[in-house]
Symmetry: D3
Subunit: 131 residues, 6 copies
């Protein structure tokens, strides 16, 4: 049974990542419910729910943090989030390009190719859109 904060986090997550985002969370919930709950309650329900920055800017920031740690899967997920939050293709690509001198070219290449995988498929994937 989810707390109010976790329910709110769930709604924020679903609007960001669509149905395709559920599978990973359910896998985590099966092995470590306390962590799956922290994703909803702390990460989405608390941090993503604040008014100081709009959701598009938050997605670009998390893309940068993902690229900087060489996490292309994370970049992929948040490129979908950025598109669902109204970012343009140009803004997303530029976020990664802006990181290049600060993170080095191999990580930049990985993030750009991750972004390309999403952008190339975006029109065809209903399960990536906000729910």
């Amino acid at each position: 049974m989810l707390s109010e904060r976790a329910k709110r986090g769930k709604a924020i997550r679903d609007a960001a990542f669509g149905r395709a985002g559920l599978a990973t969370w359910e896998e985590l919930n099966e092995i470590a419910p306390v962590h799956a709950n922290a994703i909803l309650e702390y990460c989405f329900g608390t941090i993503w729910n604040r008014p100081q920055l709009d959701l598009k800017t938050r997605e670009l920031i998390v893309i940068a943090a993902g690229a900087a740690q060489d996490l292309p899967e994370e970049v992929e997920v948040h490129v979908r989030g950025a598109l669902n939050r109204g970012a343009s293709r140009e803004e997303i690509v530029e976020t990664i390009v802006q990181c290049a001198p600060y993170i080095g070219f191999p990580k930049t290449n990985h993030a750009l190719r991750a972004a390309k995988r999403v952008l190339d498929q975006w029109e065809k994937r209903e399960d990536w859109k906000s729910i």
Copy 2:
């Protein structure tokens, strides 16, 4: 002698970091002029000079990339840049808070303390303001 692109980069850098930003660059220029030139020509003159994202958003993105790699000095420099580009104290702090679940708490703490060092001194430091 600087290329046109490097001159443009120099102006972008000086507007972001003020006089205090010069010392590190000069130290790098003394030991590795080719790298110091790449900072001006490639990093500031090419990447920071593009229209796809505004300069404030770029600063927030670079703060995120710095926090994610545990580079508090880099965070410090770009908090100054963000302030010079019109970011509010709240937007800067929120950028780091947004990274917390994605980078872990120790790196978050380092970045927040770096931001605090700048924010606490901002009013008193003329050499941090745009030139």
Copy 3:
């Protein structure tokens, strides 16, 4: 005003790190209260409060995670935590030695020197003991 979970987290933190642990948290609370609250509520009040592993083993695990990310300040803090949770000097040092082949020697050296700074001072510092 702290939630019940945050109060519980505060008690766990104070028993682990003593009075010396408060200053950093207060600095974080001044700049980013939402993050300072997550430290108490999520990190200490939720994760550290579970029965699946004893507190000494948790401290050793966090020392390993700190050493692996080259965070000597974090190692220092959790060496104090480990001592307050009943770990012996030998167990703490061995935790870092065990990491050496997996994290490389420079990070190992940093963690061992951080541990040494605590172990050399332990008897003299009342503010590091559980409160």
Copy 4:
């Protein structure tokens, strides 16, 4: 021809990882015998062979160090080691959950999914058990 220390290390490794652990080592031995020997002699024969910590705790520590560096393959191997050294499913999952606030959620997710891959297969895999 292995030294006494390397032979001892080989026995420790085989008890930890079973027959499935041999293939990677043999691949390394083919390309870099000096490194393959260091794995047996220094890593397993020297470090893992000390009395200051029991083997189960060592496995949990190495899982934490692997998760903290985003090395899910390494986590997978040492989850098998932890099971062979008597750790419960709960202790293994909790080790990763304990790392979450210190390493961030993406690395935590990778480690938990790696652990799940082993735990889901454990009963079916004879080649993962101690030899």
Copy 5:
């Protein structure tokens, strides 16, 4: 249309990696032309084009930097570069072995296995040779 410096960089890249190196660059050029241009102009046309170190030594240095950041794909590419610049199998393997105590064994294992994938295929792959 490429600048003179970018053309020179292209030639250096093609001599290092052969036809197989083109596909990744073209993918990057499709999504982020400014970054693809920086690869040619700044990375290959400026840095790789300097006389202070020979090309073989540069390849070994980049293999070390790739291994140290756990980038096995990058290691793979530059092992091909090192072979095309006259490095022996022994020098390449030794470069990674030399890194082992400084980067830890898991990253070393990944880099050695990446090197092995190239060395095992070298004689059979015409598209990896200099053009």
Copy 6:
């Protein structure tokens, strides 16, 4: 009492780093003799003692691995080692410059400034020269 291999490692270390290199090792030996012994026996006595690469090239490789992991103290130590093994100022600086596109500019800046600290002092420090 040191093994033959550890004695050989000690001689290699002293020729690389001079008297100034001893203090850190002694500090490590006080807290973790097994690790201090591995430094001599495995790292210097085994790896650094092999004929496949000359000692100057090994120092450049370790500088690259240190820069790539943002370990400026490690860079500092091995710049001294490189100078003692006959590397020129230009070769050392170029090693770091070569890493820049692969590791990003902040880490490059840290490594260049670390190198500068050594190069600026080299003539004045007798305790940095080979013993």
